[in-house]
Symmetry: C2
């Protein structure tokens, strides 16, 4: 059995960004296998009957300070995006249709664009700029993310996550055990190593 830590994420989630950066650092030092699992967090919340923290005033205020505190602790460059939240549907669908060999870079670029460079990714011009940096053809990209099969695939992946009892992002899964939140990365690593 090849062990792996499944990492469920959505670009819209600041804690997913922080977890992603921690994973990148961990992988520089240790041979630990992570598998990135895109989901639509809004869709997952709907399935679970959860109101996103971004939509609860007191939680949203806290969220900003909390993320900055965690970023500082782990030496992660981080800027809470001024346009938060946005609809991450196109960005997540996009990840499903780009070629396998650029998926890693796509993830890096879009996480950084939103949570480091403070770019408004609701504005399609800005999304196109990132796409172009990845040398992905824009016309092709927007055509593909609109396809019914792309829409259905993201819905399917999100439903599959929910069926595994996942209800938020980031979530780590190791040995079928669920670890919710970037705070639980250490516990997931313990499970992986034991």
């Amino acid at each position: 059995m090849t062990k792996v830590i499944d990492f469920y994420f959505d670009f819209i989630s600041p804690y997913s960004y922080l977890a992603h950066k921690r994973i990148v650092k961990i992988q520089k030092n240790e041979n630990i296998k992570f598998s990135y699992k895109p989901i639509l967090l809004g869709g997952l919340h709907n399935l679970a009957g959860i109101t996103a923290p971004a939509l609860i005033k007191s939680k949203k205020n806290y969220l900003v300070e909390d993320c900055e505190m965690i970023a500082k602790k782990y030496n992660i460059n981080f800027v809470f995006n001024k346009k938060f939240p946005i609809n991450s549907l196109k960005l997540m669908r996009g990840l499903l249709i780009v070629k396998d060999e650029i998926k890693k870079e796509y993830i890096d670029k879009f996480f950084d664009a939103y949570w480091l460079l403070n770019i408004d990714l609701n504005d399609e011009k800005n999304t196109t700029n990132v796409i172009n940096e990845l040398k992905v053809d824009g016309v092709h990209f927007y055509e593909n993310i609109k396809k019914q099969e792309t829409k259905e695939l993201l819905t399917k992946l999100t439903q599959e996550a929910f069926d595994k009892k996942i209800f938020g992002a980031p979530t780590f899964v190791v040995n079928n055990k669920i670890f919710w939140g970037q705070d639980r990365l250490d516990y997931a690593l313990d499970e992986y190593k034991n």
Copy 2:
């Protein structure tokens, strides 16, 4: 200025219990001042527009495993109460009306009764047993928790917490900074020590 870590809690919250046990251990080794701040978590959630995790199926399932995992990590004896959630109103009001010199023991006893001894505290007989162990007169106790001024005091304390932008339990406050969740105890300690 005397520094202190304010600890907002409700007996109904398993993470408050875990935080309480960690605090007890910390205080055995270090001279750190904690001030226990009772609130009604249900009331606080109402003020903040938050649905309790206990009322969201997927979150509640996760909650049990997550608490057990944390208890294990910190060597805390813990049994997820079979009768969860219950209404903690009487227990929280009771803390407000018992004499100062037994408040600490009241907190210990009720946390243990619910989160270690798995006692159904919805059943008034069981609550009375704990009260008796504390040598508090039961008749007097139940009379006092029904008083309008007791009810208003708990409402006031909960409102004051909300006014400080607190929205959950446990919450630590140091230097007017809010740290939500038992996971944030270490961050609160860092703030206290620096």
